[in-house]
Subunit: 328 residues, 2 copies
Amino acid sequence: MTIRIGIMGYGNLGRGIECAIRQNDDLELVAVFTRRPPETVRILTEGVNVYHVDDAIKMKDEIDVLILCGGSATDLPKQTVEYAKYFNVVDSFDTHAKIPEHFENVNKMAVENNNVALISAGWDPGMFSLNRLYASAVLPQGKDYTFWGKGISQGHSDAIRRIEGVKNAKQYTIPIESALEAVRNGSEPELSTREKHLRECFVVAEEGADLSRIENEIKTMPNYFADYDTTVHFITEEELLRDHSGIPHGGFVIRSGKTGWNGENSHVIEYSLKLDSNPEFTSSVIVAYARAVYRMKNEGMSGCKTVFDVAPAYLTSMSADEIRKNLL
Amino acid sequence: MTIRIGIMGYGNLGRGIECAIRQNDDLELVAVFTRRPPETVRILTEGVNVYHVDDAIKMKDEIDVLILCGGSATDLPKQTVEYAKYFNVVDSFDTHAKIPEHFENVNKMAVENNNVALISAGWDPGMFSLNRLYASAVLPQGKDYTFWGKGISQGHSDAIRRIEGVKNAKQYTIPIESALEAVRNGSEPELSTREKHLRECFVVAEEGADLSRIENEIKTMPNYFADYDTTVHFITEEELLRDHSGIPHGGFVIRSGKTGWNGENSHVIEYSLKLDSNPEFTSSVIVAYARAVYRMKNEGMSGCKTVFDVAPAYLTSMSADEIRKNLL
């Protein structure tokens, strides 16, 4: 028997979920829901229908886990709560500061309706969060660092695109190698924002635009760029398409800490990701947690969960015997 | 209220557990048990008594979790089963091939007596196992690799010491950089034993011993050295003590995998450890799992568990609210 998955929203993430389901024999895609006219949305999986979002609730008995692929700014705060009434759900809510509030809202609805809802699956929040937790539990006397990149930041790329005279833009977040090395050496440095990451921008300007004004507006933009060393390259639309169409990302979670009666021994734990496709990797994590959600529900659990609440064994299609034999 | 911990066996690991308990305010060492005459064993923690192993069972109501610090070859297969009758226990059983059998034996006893027993805590098995599981669940279409070192292998050092004419020896296991790089590049190489690790030996010979015979016996020793490129250095006892007294270790778990409709995107997940003290880091992991065992027991669970069965939130002294707020 397979676990029947529904996808709510068919952008980069929804398509990534569809691809990830195909890699897992115990999962089956049964429906994709969209706000667009369903007949205009072409999906990859043969024999699976696209429905309008308004039809989702009618299909609640045909879907074991509904995966919510909307954005964290406006979609998920409503959607995850709403659909936790009818479905077991997974989302990738990634506004770190608002996670406690989102958790409370989703938890209330999921508990009341006896569903399992897992929020904030992905890699950060997600796999990086897990590594921060494991590392700090194992080395309580220590310090951890998260670096992001090299990768495309959607938010920073959008911020550049809003500048007058900018036609298109991509922004890479790049961890600074010397900072990584200092952290790996266990010296527990204090690092400013500027010392941790560089920002590199590839900008296509409108014809006749004032390039030095654009460059200045980028470099002085508060919150986004002012606190960083930022490089701006003006390129053509063709170059942007040719060289910067991918959505790579990744990063590092590093914790160094001391053990011994007087802290005489040092240890460094490092977790890193190098991802060709940010949305596809995020999707792969979400899909593993969808499996976990299904199993947790079957064991009688309910309420809102995060990656911290999920025993690792729930994530894999292998049996408990197999994982003890092959992976332990 | 603190979690009351007992330590069974006071070698490198037992002493590491004692140090790790000191770093965790919610844990308290209440007793150390030894096979030696207790009055001959000096521990670091003031006000805590050392008892003979035969007195352990009498103290079952004063200990929340008993940590078993014996060896995997002969101690733990008996001890963990025996003490799971009276205590919640944690061990670091690391004979990978015998884990399924050990699990069954311990599980039976723990279930019958309504205790929680966690086996095979440490870093491999342990943190490395977790990373193999998470990575394979997230990237099912991929391949993983475990490298060990640079670090001291106790078993290989012992094997050298058994050679006639050898007074003392230390052996380092060293991962081969070019193999690591090939794996990190996502090329999923097939690597032979020889291509993954080097073995470097520092040997103190008895006066007048035949050095070339010793070197040859090491390099041709089946299972231990014959399948590796091995280097042998003869040094003095003073040099061995000065330069090779530490117990460093570490290693890498790397999984590369593909996503996308046709596997068009590659991803690399890497977890690594650089440890000054193998037994102290192992102890730090064990102590975090002792906390988890106590909580799982309090929630009514019983039976044998591994790291795969423990939701990460159980490992930290922080509350669920705190970890969602600060680590997610």
